[in-house]
Amino acid sequence: MKQEQQNSSSPNHAAKGNSLILHTSITYLVYIILLLAFFLFWHGHNAPGGGFIAGLISAAAIILLYLTFGSQWLHTTLTFDFKYLVAIGLSISLACGLAAVLLGKPFLTHTFTVLSISVLGEIELATATIFDLGVYCVVSGGCVVAITAIGESDRAKRRHGQQQTTTSDTNTPASSEP
């Protein structure tokens, strides 16, 4: 029983079986995945792409990290509470809609403007992008919260399972509101 406890409290518990190749490559791959997410996000407002899939892809990146290095690592390195990311995202989208109300337009009225910067050429800036940023935060935050919740409960169960203590923390996490 003592050995079991030691096992579960040691870092990289979930990552024990993972290969060196995965460990090494993930550290680089994550940046590429995040870059892809950023590209899709930026591309999104006038072409296929957008906040939702960008959010999914970034969540995938974080979940890959989680799978490779284990939840212990994730807790010590990424101390940020992803539930707040959902809250921030929701408030960005809501604020974007409410801004139109303050200006006397119907809720969620969008507008855009074209900026021309000498080096970069013409850039189209739309308020829809701000809304999309909110979507991005909600989706990526929600995914990470949901998946870590499943993982955490499993870990808690394994830790307590041997000592026949029932898991008291059986609350289901809030599902990501679409």
């Binding site: 539930k83 707040y84 959902v86 809250a87 929701l90 408030s91 809501l94 409410l98 139109a100 109300v101 006397g104 337009k105 119907p106 809720f107 969620l108 009225t109 969008h110 059986t170 609350n171 289901t172 996490p173 809030a174 599902s175 509101e177 679409p178």
Partner: protein, 496 residues
């Protein structure tokens, strides 16, 4: 711009929900925020109803996109009354929860979920676009799934699983119905559909689609063959949750039935109204009979939800202005009274430590306020004057007599007796008679718990005494509903 006012009943709980997410670790803050927002929501809903009564139907065009392309939100009298009741029930539920829901749940986004459910309810009531209705339905349902599962007790989880699977299936059929509607007409705006659906030559196709929608809304409203999930799943979670479910959720389904079958599917209506009538009668009778053989407090109440949905259905099926008004009045009365009865059930179960009527008894000696409160609510539900339930049934009987529906009148009265029987049964078993020694008696904070249900019972009494002006408003709402042209004109008013 004033059209944003239409969205206000949704924006208030929505903003609150976001704030609640930020403060999810602090229960105290959560309580204050939810309480304040509940009061603001009630005040706002009253003002909205006032505006609708003075200015007529209000319409909101999201992002300034005009119908039939953009999303529209429409508040007519019917929707405005329901928004007000949603706010009232939401407020009562939040205040009841302060002394009823345990900290564990409060920390796990309980208030957030309640607010999201209110967003979904209000959205469903004011949606003017059938796909938008689907989205609000989903928001409502997802919150309800989580609320049902919150706490994670064995029975609860099992019932939630059934509830979720059935509702997801029903939602899939909702999408199928939407797809078929779109293929048939090329639009999903409800006002536009109301114009285009009667023009379609192949009306049997429209009947088919309407039956799909009947299945979808019927399974949420728990009508005859689709009610099997309701009694078990509503009896499991804490009373505050089952109260808001029993009071509001099924009524959203009934609302959608009334809305779609008076606005859109009216081309070849004999078939569908006959079907609704038969289903309504069966729902009434089976719900009433189901309650009789139960001994679990909240299961009896849940079976009566089903039976009362039947009343609303036959009101809709007889489709005169008077019977639709009766169905609406019944709905409003039922939302108020049913919720209060669930609160009383929750308080009783906490005191006696059991939900089984046979183990209770004589509670009236030590808890008279509780017992008499339940008694008043129960007789109101059964339709004894001067409570609101009496006038609801009276209107319904008048409407049925007007078109000579003898069977409807017979069943309205017969099921009324069944309801009275069940309520008296609960009262006799649980409160009256010899005091039984109960294993667990926890009386902590029991008086505070009775504030919300007593206020609702008083509201039922007020609705009963002030029935003349209220029936006028309801008749006006029914007249608006009976004439789809008013709705269509309001939605397209910005173009013309």
């Amino acid at each position: 711009m004033s059209s944003n006012q239409v969205l206000s009943p949704q924006l208030i709980p929505w903003i609150t929900a976001v704030l609640l997410l930020f403060t999810y670790r602090r229960v105290r803050w959560q309580r204050i925020l939810s309480g304040v927002s509940a009061i603001v929501a009630v005040a706002n809903a009253i003002y909205l109803l006032y505006c609708v009564l003075t200015n007529g139907t209000l319409v909101f065009w999201a992002g300034d996109w005009l119908p039939p392309f953009g999303i529209t939100m429409v508040v007519d009298t019917f929707a405005a009354i329901l928004v007000l009741l949603t706010a009232l029930i939401g407020a009562s539920c939040i205040f009841y929860s302060f002394s009823h829901i345990d900290m564990q749940r409060e920390k796990y986004f309980y208030y957030f979920l309640i607010q999201m459910m209110l967003v979904g309810c209000n959205g469903a009531f004011i949606a003017g676009d059938i796909f938008n209705l689907y989205v609000w339905f989903e928001i409502l349902l997802i919150s309800s799934y989580v609320l049902l599962a919150l706490g994670g007790e064995k029975k609860q989880l099992r019932e939630t699983l059934t509830y979720v699977v059935l509702n997801v299936l029903a939602s899939s059929f909702f999408l199928v119905g939407l797809g078929l509607l779109y293929a048939a007409t090329g639009t999903l705006n409800m006002a536009d559909l109301a114009i285009k659906l009667p023009q379609i030559e192949n009306q049997s196709l429209i009947n088919l689609i309407s039956v799909i929608f009947l299945f979808v809304f019927g399974s949420k409203a728990a009508i005859f063959p689709l009610f099997y999930w309701l009694p078990h799943s509503y009896a499991q979670p804490p009373a505050a949750i089952s109260a808001i479910f029993g009071g509001l959720l099924t009524k959203v389904g009934v609302y959608c039935l009334i809305r779609t079958f008076t606005l859109m599917f009216i081309g070849d209506s004999t078939f569908i109204y006959t079907l609704l009538f038969v289903l309504g009668i069966l729902t009434m009778v089976l719900g009433g009979l189901g309650a009789i053989c139960q001994y679990q407090f909240r299961k009896i109440l849940s079976f009566h939800i089903i039976s009362q949905v039947g009343y609303m259905l036959i009101g809709l099926a007889m489709h005169t202005t008077l019977t639709i008004a009766a169905a609406m009045y019944f709905m409003f009365h039922n939302i108020i009274v049913k919720t209060s009865l669930f609160y009383f059930a929750g308080a009783t179960e906490e005191i006696s430590g059991t939900g089984d009527l046979r183990q209770m008894g004589g509670l009236i000696h030590r808890f008279p306020v509780l017992a008499w409160g339940f008694f008043l609510g129960g007789v109101s539900l059964a339709g004894v004057p001067p409570f609101s339930g009496f006038f609801a049934k009276l209107l319904m009987l008048q409407g049925a007599a007007e078109i000579g529906q003898g069977w409807a009148m017979f069943f309205i009265l017969a099921v009324g007796f069944l309801t009275l029987f069940s309520m008296i049964k609960i009262f006799m078993y649980c409160y009256w008679g010899q005091e039984k020694t109960l294993a667990v008696i926890s009386t902590s904070g029991y008086r505070r718990k009775l504030i919300s249900p007593w206020l609702l019972v008083m509201l039922s009494l007020v609705v009963g005494f002030a029935s003349t002006p209220i029936i006028e408003v309801v008749l006006r709402a029914a007249a608006e509903i009976s004439d789809p042209n008013l709705y269509i004109q309001a939605v397209f008013s910005k173009i013309n």
